[in-house]
Symmetry: C2
Subunit: 335 residues, 2 copies
DNA sequence: CTGTTAGCGCGTTCAG
DNA sequence: CTGAACGCGCTAACAG
C-alpha cells in the first residue's frame, strides 16, 4: 500500500526499470505491446512520478517564482494582482509547473529571495513586476542567470524578455474620450512615479493632452494618497474638470472625496479609472474605466516565460490593447 | 563556476562526502576544527543545498499548498485573502517552506489537485479554506492522508485540525454596538450560506438579536449580490435601520445603493462591515467595521500546520478575537 | 570520538 | 530491451 516506484512497476511487468521509464514517457525503445502492458500496470498500481526525483534528475525545479514586493498597505492593486496570478497559473498548471508565491517588504528582500531560490534551484525562473528605471533586480537576475520575464515590462530595449500592454494607446483613448466630451482641464492621479509603466503613462498623457491643460500628480497607488491628491486638485483655483486615476481604488477614493467636497460626479467632475474592477460598477455613479483582460495577460506572460525556458522566445511581447468602457462617471464639463 | 556539490567541498577540504554532510548539518561526528574548515570551504564555494536532492532524500517536498476555489467573480474577499496569504507565508518562509498557490474553478478541481499534489509529493500539507457542512474535501484529505489544516475551520469536533476565530463574539460585539445605539430592526447580508463560518455567524446573529427584529439574507459574497440584497431590504415595508454585511465589499456596495435610493447613511441606515479594509476608511461615511488581524491569523495557521507536520499539535486553535471599530456609518436610528 | 564507505531515494539516460 | 551509472544529499554501518 506504499507509494509504488518505477521498480515496482518493472518487477510486476517483468521488465527493467529503464523500459518502464521509456514507456511512461512515450519515448521510443519499447514495443507497443510492452508499453501498453507497462502503462496498464502503472495504472493498476496507481503510480505517479515523485516530483523531487524528477526534479533531481532533470535538474529542473518544475516551479516558477513570483515575488510581490509592494508594501502591504498599497492594497489598491489587488484586483489586478489576483487576476494576474490566476492567469499566470492557469497557464503554468497546464504544464504541471507550480507557482511559488512570496510576499516581501521590499526589493532588497526580493533580491535576496532570488539568490536563495536560484541557489537552491527552487525555481526554474521568475516573473518580475513593477520594473523601475535602472532596476537593480535586472542586473542581479542577469548576473545570476536566473531566467526571468518582466510583466508589464519596459516595452522595448529591455535586457530581459517582457510582456507588456500598450499604455500609450490606452491613455490616448481615455484622453480622446474626455476631450470628445469637451474637457479642457484634465488632471491625472498617477501611481508610483519610479515605476516604468507609470512613466510610460505619464509620457503618453503629456503627449495626449498637448494643447490642453493637463497635469499629473504622483501617489503610491494607495486609496489614501488618491484621496489626498484629489483634495488638492479640487482645491486649486482652477480645478480640473476631469481626473484620470491610475487604478480603480484611487478612483473610488477620488469619487468619495468629490462627494465630501460637494462636487457632483459627473456634472462637475468626470472620473476615469485605469483598471476596471467590480468595484467600479458598484458605485454611484458607475465608473468609466479602462478594462484589460488581466487574466489573459497573465496567461500570455506565463507562456512567454515557458518559451524562454524552452530556449525559444525572448524579446518583447505586446499584449492586447486595453479598452475604455464609458459608464456614468464621465460627462461633458459643466457649462 | 558551476554549482558546487557536496563532493566538491569534500575534495577541496580533503575529507569525505559524509563528513561534509555532518558538518553542514551540525550533526556530531566531526571535530570542531574540521567542521570549521568545511564550513569555510562551503562558504568559499558559495555552496547551497539542491532543493530537489534534499527533498528526495528527506522524502519531504518543502512546500505547502493552498488552493483558492472561489469563483473568480467573487472578488469581495480579496483583501482578506491577500492578508491571509501574506501571513501564511511570512511564517512558512521562516522555515524555508514554500507556498504553492493554485486558483481553480471549483471543489472538484480542488480535490483533483490534492490528489495530484500528494501523489507526486509536491506538497507536505495543505491549507483548506471555506469549509462547508459535510465537506467532501475533508473526506478526501483523510483518505489520502494528506496533512491539512482548516483555516477558519469548524471550531470544534473537526476531523481535521483547524485555526478559527470566535465569530460569535464578533457578532455579539456588532449587535451590542447597534442595540446600544437604539436599533431594533437589524438585517444581515450574509455570505455563502453553505459555508460553515457563515452558518456560525448566522447562528450567532440570531442569538444576539433575540428579542429584536433581526433577519439574514444570503449572497455569494459579491458586491453585486450585496447591492441587490440591500435594494430588497430597503424596499421592504418596514426596512431595517441597520445592516450588517459579511464582508467589506458588500458593505461598500450597500452604501452605494443606499445613496442611490436617497437613504442617508448613517442618519436613516447604519452600516457595519465584517472585515475591515482601507476601502472602509476611504468612503464617506467611513464604515464601522469588525477588524481582525488577518496577517497574524495566517501566521498562526501556518505555525499550526507546521506543528502538525512535526507530529505535534492537532486539534483546534482559537485565534484572537476580532475587534469592532466604530466609525461614521453607524448612528442612532432616525427619530 | 573522528571520519570513511557504501548505499539509499527515484526517475532518467545511454552504452551495450 | 537490459544493466549500470548519474543527479545530490543523507545516513547507517564500520574502521581507525
Amino acid at each position: 500500500m506504499k507509494r509504488p516506484t518505477i521498480m515496482d512497476i518493472a518487477r510486476r511487468a517483468g521488465v527493467s526499470k529503464g523500459a518502464v521509464s521509456m514507456a511512461l514517457n512515450g519515448q521510443p525503445g519499447v514495443s507497443e505491446a510492452t508499453r501498453r502492458r507497462i502503462l496498464q500496470v502503472a495504472q493498476e498500481l496507481d503510480w505517479h512520478p515523485n516530483n523531487a526525483a524528477r526534479a533531481l534528475s532533470a535538474a529542473r525545479a518544475g516551479a516558477i517564482g513570483l515575488v510581490l514586493a509592494r508594501p502591504a498597505r498599497t492594497l489598491g492593486v489587488e484586483p489586478f494582482f489576483f487576476q494576474l496570478i490566476s492567469g499566470l497559473q492557469a497557464e503554468l498548471s497546464e504544464r504541471r509547473i507550480a507557482l511559488l508565491l512570496q510576499v516581501v517588504d521590499d526589493h532588497v528582500a526580493e533580491m535576496e529571495l532570488y539568490r536563495q531560490w536560484w541557489s537552491e534551484r527552487r525555481v526554474d525562473g521568475v516573473f518580475v513586476i513593477d520594473l523601475r528605471a535602472q532596476d537593480e533586480r535586472v542586473r542581479l537576475l542577469e548576473k545570476l542567470g536566473l531566467p526571468a520575464l518582466v510583466i508589464g515590462g519596459p516595452g522595448h530595449h529591455g535586457e530581459l524578455p517582457s510582456v507588456w500592454a500598450d499604455d500609450a494607446h490606452g491613455m490616448r483613448s481615455i484622453v480622446t474620450h474626455l476631450t470628445g466630451l469637451g474637457h479642457k482641464r484634465i488632471a491625472r492621479v498617477a501611481g508610483l512615479p519610479e515605476l516604468l509603466h507609470t512613466q510610460r503613462r505619464t509620457a503618453a498623457f503629456r503627449e495626449a493632452t498637448r494643447g490642453l491643460a493637463g497635469w499629473t500628480v504622483s501617489t503610491d497607488y494607495s486609496g489614501e494618497q488618491g484621496a489626498e491628491a484629489t483634495r488638492r486638485l479640487l482645491a486649486a483655483p482652477e480645478p480640473p474638470t476631469a481626473i484620470v486615476y491610475d487604478n480603480d481604488v484611487m478612483a473610488v477614493a477620488g469619487v468619495a472625496v468629490a462627494a465630501e467636497l460637494g462636487v457632483p460626479v459627473p456634472e462637475r467632475l468626470s472620473v476615469v479609472a485605469w483598471d476596471d474592477s467590480p468595484l467600479c460598477q458598484l458605485l454611484h455613479p458607475q465608473l468609466t474605466a479602462l478594462t484589460r483582460d488581466t487574466f489573459a495577460f497573465g496567461a500570455r506572460a506565463a507562456r512567454a516565460l515557458l518559451d524562454v525556458l524552452d530556449g525559444a522566445g525572448g524579446g518583447d511581447l505586446e499584449d492586447h490593447v486595453p479598452e475604455l468602457v464609458a459608464r456614468e462617471s464621465t460627462a461633458p464639463p459643466a457649462q
